[in-house]
């Protein structure tokens, strides 16, 4: 059995990591820290864990050594603590944004802070198996991905792999649920303000752009494509749909697209190509993914030419965070990748 500690178990990401680990057949959950909630039972903050994971939160000082440490503390804090945390476990997975970017210069640009330990950045593998499966098998540190970036990357990866699109004028229009903002309360997630909205925020300069450009570059001759991302809060708690508008490079047919997506994802355990001619569920829809680690992708060629629309839908807390973290852990620890991640999602919900 793998003993796994969780640093920062009181937030939504920490709670989701605990939910997945609670029914993971090869894992024993060790210490779960939360300074402000020490002594309280987990289920007081994560009611779904009542009778499932009967542990209490520990103060951070109680953190002992474990085979795996899941770091679920807010952005900015993980980067400071990391040198010491790396001593606390054989393998560390940081679900914050603090070790996602490979180029230290990207942090001031996209996150407005200078990274205190840039030397650590090379050691972390970007924790998306569809992009880094082989590296993850031998990694000792991985970073959980940005949720929006994951939806966009999954949607567009096949197009870049097959060289079907231009590297500029790429619009990524994202719709996202409220849980992505985390458990901290603020006016923007106050129910009377948050319910029934379609509220654009960060129409330009959204931080996840950096990850999409970083992760697609290897499939674009090493050059970062320019990604123009805009985000909208919509009336969901979980879920992301990334609608990507790209320009075809030369003549591209529907068959070319099917081949590109089939080649890229045919053998993938967690990606489904959803592009149906009939029925209610023709294109990816985050509503059917709640709680599951699937990423659904789809596409459509504009009959008037000059545009390919690509879709990526995920559950921001699972494939966009805790699920990818556990899949990376499975790979890093030599376990079958699907272990503990078989939940199919709910319908209707």
């Amino acid at each position: 059995m793998l003993r796994v500690n969780v640093l920062g178990g009181s937030g939504y990401t920490g709670g989701e990591v605990l939910r997945i680990l609670a029914t993971h057949p090869m894992v024993e959950v060790g210490i779960v820290t939360s300074s402000s909630n020490a002594g309280k039972p987990l289920h007081q903050l994560h009611p779904n864990l009542r009778g499932v994971l009967d542990l209490t939160f520990s103060p951070r000082e109680r953190l002992d050594h474990a085979e795996v440490l899941m770091v679920c503390v807010p952005h900015g804090r993980a980067m400071e603590m990391m040198p010491q945390l790396l001593q606390n476990a054989d393998k560390v997975i940081d679900l914050s944004a603090d070790h996602r970017l490979r180029d230290p210069a990207d942090y001031p640009t996209w996150y407005g802070i200078t990274h205190p330990h840039p030397e650590n950045l090379q050691r972390f593998v970007y924790g998306v198996p569809e992009l880094h499966r082989e590296q993850l098998r031998s990694a000792t540190a991985a970073s959980g991905p940005g949720c929006m970036a994951t939806a966009a990357n999954l949607a567009m990866l096949p197009l870049f792999k097959a060289g079907l699109v231009e590297e500029r004028h790429i619009i990524v229009d994202v719709k996202i649920g409220s849980s992505a903002a985390g458990v901290e309360v603020n006016i923007s997630t106050h129910h009377p303000e948050r319910a029934n909205v379609v509220r654009a925020y960060a129409p330009t300069g959204h931080r996840h752009t950096a990850e999409v450009e970083q992760e697609l570059a290897p499939y674009n001759g090493g050059r970062k494509p320019r990604i123009d991302l805009s985000a909208h809060a919509v009336d969901m708690v979980r879920g992301i749909l990334a609608t990507c508008h790209l320009r075809p490079r030369g003549e591209v047919t529907d068959k070319d697209l099917w081949k590109a997506y089939r080649d890229a994802y045919g053998a993938e355990p967690f990606v489904r190509v959803v592009n149906q001619k009939a029925g209610l569920h023709q294109l990816p829809n985050p509503k059917v993914l709640l709680g599951s680690n699937f990423g659904d992708v789809g596409f459509q060629l504009d009959p008037r030419g000059e545009r390919i629309v690509a879709f990526g839908a995920i559950d921001n807390l699972v494939k966009g965070a805790a699920g990818s973290a556990v899949a990376s852990m499975n790979l890093m620890c030599g376990l079958p990748e699907r272990t503990g991640l078989e939940f199919p999602g709910l319908h209707p919900v």
């Binding site: 002594g39 309280k40 039972p41 007081q44 009967d54 209490t56």
Partner: protein, 54 residues
């Protein structure tokens, strides 16, 4: 072992618990202050009033 004053659940007390420490009852979530060790005794700790204003 000691009984929760609020709901009667039996609570395990680990050895390093000290008088004055707070323990939370797993069944009803009441915060209990340890007032004695031999025999183990607890009393309801002052609960901060939660008012969601609803």
């Amino acid at each position: 072992m000691v009984e929760c004053t609020e709901c009667g659940a039996t609570l395990a007390m680990n050895e390093d618990t000290e008088v004055g420490e707070l323990i939370t009852c797993g069944d009803c979530g009441a915060d209990l202050e340890v007032t004695g060790m031999t025999p183990p005794m607890v009393q309801l700790a002052p609960q901060e009033e939660e008012d969601w204003g609803e």
